[in-house]
Amino acid sequence: MAGGAVGLGNFLRFPIQAIQNGGGAFIIPYLVSFVLLGLPLTMIEWSTGKLGGLFGHHSPPMIMQKLGRRVHWRYIGSIGLFSSIIIASYYCFIESWIFSYMLHSLFGTFDGMTELQISDFFDRYLNLSISVSGIPYDTFLSFVFCLALNIYILSKGIAGGIERVAKICMPLLFIFGIFLVIKAFTLKAGEDGAIFDGTLGLNFLWTPQFDSLANPNVWLAAAGQVFFTLSLGMGAIQTYASYLKKEQDIALSSLTSAFTNEFTEVILGSSIIIPISIGYFGIDKVIELTQSGGFGLGFRTMPYLFEQWGTVFSTLAGVAFFGLLFFAGITSTLSIIQPTVAHLSKSFDWSQKKSSYITGSFVFFLALPCILFFDKGVFDEYDYWGGTMALFLFAMFEAIAFSWILGVDKGWKLITGYANITVPRFFKFVLKYITPTMLILIFISALVKPMNDDWSLISIHGWELDNNAIIAKLMHKGMDVNDSNIIYIDGARIYLLLLLITIWLTIYINIRVRKKRVQKHNESMMS
């Protein structure tokens, strides 16, 4: 599972989130969220997944129903499917960028380019009307190839084989990552084309800014990043753990998976793209580059660093970096798509192959607006609602169901039963009180955040929402009414809402079909 957890979130999403949320302003909420939300929720997902598996449930809606003991929890559990399929759609798109960049590195596309040309190359690559390789619609074709590859692996049930390949690729990615960290730390202004020291970026990230602790949106972004990177709130861990045997350990496995991920993110992910991009562009320009089109910073900067090492080494480094990242991406995508495949397979008694193809079609049509209208803000909408909000909501309900409905005593038994490690009892207290309360508080305060974070003004001037409050975002507060992107943003939101309704429909049909089956069975028994 560590193979699935380590992925693009560590190397590509974390730096963007950290920069967008003020560097040092982000790191404290991030670390606190990891300890008080990330670790407890990792244990919750592993244990509830195993619990579901013991009763033959392998998809998030069924597992949540088992946990919440009422049928409406199955609908709440669908949020896990909703987030996983949205993330799968744009994750697969990013995977295709990586694949293309690996080929471009191999064929020397970046040879002789300046840092601005390489940054512009990324914009041109995402513009479907331009072909950067000479092959028409190369960006789209690359996405189709990557999606087809993922679905083929899932349909053939050979994800285990990929995991074994990942076991070789992952240590190689770590070794290459450590090499890049050293390069980032030693990047000096005036050398290798850099205009600032790499350490400027590290100062930016690690100088704490305590005023951010009162900003719920930074907390929401930090918690969202923790969930995204640990694959929490998307049902991936639950689905994986549902196939574990009763006597298998989950305490040590879940903690090892979480810390492997944090090692990759906080030690490697934070020390590569942030110092390198700030070294080449400066803080202001990097902040500007990360305002939209999340995940893109690494594509704008890393090829330029590699270009400084000469033709042969730049090719090797580009192929190694993007190639290893591609493998990390595939293992993650497989684990993200699996909950939907399991849901369809169990709900309609479809084969793995059929469920994989239908899930693949869903992902394809869901990704289309993201690809076609990338520059209109659709990608960022997907990442916000699917990659942050939905994860957060699912995690919040999960924590409430685990700690307050199932009961923390039973839950603690699930976590520590058959464990290969002693889990500190402090976490039992955290699971019962801190995690659910913190999730509820962050969610409510991000929902109705007042203007400029000044909660004291509420009583004096009434409740004027900040532009970043969730409700304000829904109402496009702060946007120009004539902004041409609004129609695309609204379109994306309606599309996502339709997806959620479709998932609810599959659950409703499943409940009806099963009820009828039970009725028929009872009637036949009576007669």
């Binding site: 040092g24 670390l31 619990l51 013991l54 009763f55 088992k66 350490t199 590290l202 100062n203 990230l205 690690w206 100088t207 704490p208 009763k246 006597e247 298998q248 350990d249 040590l252 496995s253 903690l255 090892t256 810390f259 492997t260 944090e262 090692f263 906080v266 030690i267 199932l406 039973k410 038994k413 699930l414 520590t416 039963g417 058959y418 290969n420 490690i421």
Partner: protein, 46 residues
């Protein structure tokens, strides 16, 4: 690099590295002991 961010970075990254190494040591130590465990909880409880 400035002193305060350097100290914070070193402490945080050192702690994560230390815990990760400890957990992997535990994984390799306990890898073959799964079958020797006694019943920890019963399905009926859930």
């Amino acid at each position: 690099m400035n002193t305060l961010p350097f100290i914070i970075m070193t402490v945080v990254q050192g702690a994560i590295l230390g815990i990760t190494i400890y957990l992997y040591w535990k994984v390799f130590t306990f890898e073959n002991k799964n079958n020797e465990k006694e019943e920890s909880f019963s399905d009926d409880e859930f």
